[in-house]
Subunit: 147 residues, 2 copies
DNA sequence: CCCTTATTGAAAAGATTTTTCAATAAGGGC
DNA sequence: GCCCTTATTGAAAAATCTTTTCAATAAGGG
């Protein structure tokens, strides 16, 4: 099943109605390979549903986040971009130029977490890990710019 | 040398004047063990210098960040808290209840980064790592609340 | 002790997000 | 299919947070 269909179904099961506004937001974000701001989702969404309001973008994001389907992605330049949530324990690798986002897994923080719990007395409950760099397409473009 | 003295000296060397507003911000943030918002710095700063303006807090944070002395700390509840910068390669462990922040080092992400560069074609340049939990004091308080 | 000018706080402006509200339409029950 | 209830909508207003403007002030080199 496509991710957007799954999201629509999850919204329904969460007791929410399926509206044109929600369909537009889901269509834009569920299939995106890039993190998107509310304003970007709004712009893109209006191509599918021109009456879409920015308020409904915010409201739909809120519901998708609550259902665990969407996550907020923070960056140095701004903390209001959104992306489909990881499935299972994954984090994102982000291109600083084009905002492409790729999931990865396999961080092995257990030893570190264990050691720090012992040393600091904290009970460690969660962690954020994000990797930043340049995707291969942007690396080529950047080299071209340097000439 | 105390961290606040060092910061004042660094501001001077950066070509900035030492004013009462800057001294107040430095005094509050340099010795803090907790991440602080601009509004919290403003409130605390006014106890040392009642004429302090919120604008000067923002402007001082901007300079301290530019000099690499202060870093912004992001959390789920908000992305506008500040804390002294790590020295060398360190990250922070944060208490979700009292905002206490503790530096740590020793994350070993090299193997992961190497593997992902090969797999994805990204050139990975930096990473964010933050650990969240409960400090020991807050753990006790939370247990008491549960009774 | 000047003099230049960086810096200040207050107020205004900008940017982003949330709330309010009357109109609309989703979708369960018939 | 057709109601009827009420969740949802978009526009406008309000609330928040941050930045800019500006005339007054004070830092600090000479
Ligand atoms: Mn992990
Ligand atoms: Mn690290
Ligand atoms: Zn890229
Ligand atoms: Zn704590």
């Amino acid at each position: 099943m496509r991710r957007s269909e799954f999201w629509l179904q999850a919204l329904r099961q969460g007791g929410y109605r399926l509206t044109a506004a929600r369909r537009a937001v889901v269509r834009v974000l569920a299939e995106s390979e890039h993190t998107l701001t509310p304003a970007e989702i709004y712009q893109a969404g209006r191509r599918f549903y021109p009456a879409l309001g920015l308020v409904s973008v915010y409201r739909t994001l809120e519901k998708l986040e609550e259902l665990g389907l969407v996550q907020r992605v923070h960056r140095a330049e701004g903390c209001n971009t959104y992306f489909p949530s990881a499935e299972g324990h994954q984090h994102v690798l982000l291109c600083r130029r084009c905002q492409q986002a790729v999931f990865f897994s396999g961080d092995d923080l257990e030893p570190l977490v264990g050691r720090l719990q012992a040393e600091t007395g904290f009970r460690i409950e969660r962690h954020w890990l994000q990797l930043f760099g340049l995707c291969s397409a942007c690396r080529e473009k950047e080299e071209k710019d340097d000439e």
